[in-house]
Assembly symmetry: C2
Homo-oligomer: 284 residues x 2
């Protein structure tokens, strides 16, 4: 998808939010805002995905934070909190009559939560509230139909923390006899899950985990490794998680199931969902 | 007050919101965003008030809308809705044991409502909800003390619609024997009240109304008429309404009572209030 005009101020806000989340000195906020302005003001057209511009804003964040992995500690914390919660949630999973639908919902809910920002208590309450909601867009029948003949399922992961919640989806698909491959980022970008996170939450013990060889926001196929592209094009089913992967793969040359929570108007519009709505959308 | 870094994306959003409110063609949004980016990217420091930058963003809005008064129709509608509501509210005012406190609150509530955007029903509900709230910052004792010896009170108005709600404050002060002067903008800017609005809501029949000779966002004293500055410096009490007037007058060289609802974090921080909180703050 192409960036909307309202993505422009939001991109600047993303940089400012990073400064706050990382607890960098206050004066860094103005530096981020000014450099984001200068970067964005060079474009005559905004015909790339929001994630395209977001990548360069995050490069500014990395430079100002003075580290290649500014969200490292937050990712560790997010994994710990999500794993802790998963113990409880596994009981609900066991009770669920439709385990596939439950694990899809839990995976979408995981996409919405910023595990490392609030305390465990608030996260638990938020997850419980979100699990009560129905999907706003739910292409479940198509999914089950496609799943019948599928052998290999590729899940393109999104954030640390969230990756722990995806484990039940992987387990469910494996219990159905599918081969599951889970893809993470090749290098740190934002709080996106990397191989380190996959190991921390033991996703590596559950299924084959590959990295995409890229440090971009979302999935820029042209920047990904040959191995990732092979799985992307040859998997029978691709499940893509989160907004940035939707932004960068919504026009990709294969069919995809997008699993996410819409966090803003442009994504709600593009997915025909609503803001804060759980989305499981098929594009062919 | 000086702009906060988070004012920068907000300023771009203000331009985009104007396009939507004015129902201009969608493609104008990108134009506004791009021109705002280019304008803002020229600054090395952001040491002026947010309203300073907002003025230039609104100049871009005027140019793109192709009119000097793009909010003209919205202002008329806001006045009509506010006047309609005032009929009901006058009964509550009659019942109020402390008419001064009630009229201050109604005036603050009027500052929060975008009368022309929602329907009458929604506005009525919103006003009722807001009237139940207490002031978060309420320098009422100082105000009553200062009022004892005061002869002339200047009220610096803010928006169309809101100006109708201010009539009860003017009436109350007049009933206390004060001379009240109400100031509006010299020329159209945003949905700020001008002499036309003062006439539409019959403020002109209630007290002396002056215009400040300026078309700036907020009150830039150096851009205001001699007449306005005379009242500003010679009035015994100045009540300044809304965020933009707070932004531009918070460092002014006289004491002021600021009456507003904080609509964002920077203003909540500067007024020591909270977002959506009713504020009546004295600065000496």
């Amino acid at each position: 998808m192409k960036a909307y005009p309202e993505c422009i101020p939001c991109l600047i806000n993303q940089g400012l939010n990073a400064v706050r989340k990382l607890k960098l000195p206050k004066e860094k906020e103005l530096e981020i805002a000014k450099r984001s302005l200068k970067f964005l003001s060079r474009f005559e057209e905004f015909d790339k995905s929001p994630a395209y511009y977001a990548y360069f804003i995050q490069q500014i964040v990395k430079e100002i934070a003075g580290t290649e992995d500014p969200f490292k500690e937050m990712k560790k914390l997010a994994n710990q909190i999500a794993l802790k919660m998963l113990e409880e949630l596994q009981k609900d999973y066991q009770k669920a009559s439709d385990k596939l639908a439950f694990s899809l919902k839990l995976s979408a809910v995981g996409n919405f939560i910023d595990f490392a920002v609030k305390g465990l208590f608030d996260v638990e309450r938020e997850v419980k509230e979100l699990l009560k909601k129905d999907f706003i867009v739910f292409d479940y029948e198509i999914f089950k139909e496609r799943l019948k003949d599928a052998f290999c399922v590729l899940i393109i992961g999104d954030n640390a923390g969230e990756i722990a919640f995806d484990k039940l989806l992987v387990k469910t698909l494996k219990d159905m006899g599918k081969e599951v491959v889970y893809a993470v980022k090749g290098k740190p970008i934002l709080n996106d899950a990397t191989m380190e996170d996959a190991e921390e939450v033991s996703m590596t013990k559950l299924c084959k985990v590959i990295h995409n060889g890229s440090d971009k926001v979302g999935t820029w196929l042209e920047d990904c490794s040959e191995e990732f592209r092979k799985y992307f094009y040859e998997a029978d089913i691709v499940i893509s998680k989160g907004q940035a992967n939707f932004e960068t793969l919504s026009d990709a040359d294969r069919d995809i199931f997008f699993l996410l929570v819409a966090k803003c108007n442009p994504i709600a519009t593009e997915t025909r969902g609503i803001v804060k709505g759980l989305i499981f959308k098929y594009k062919n």
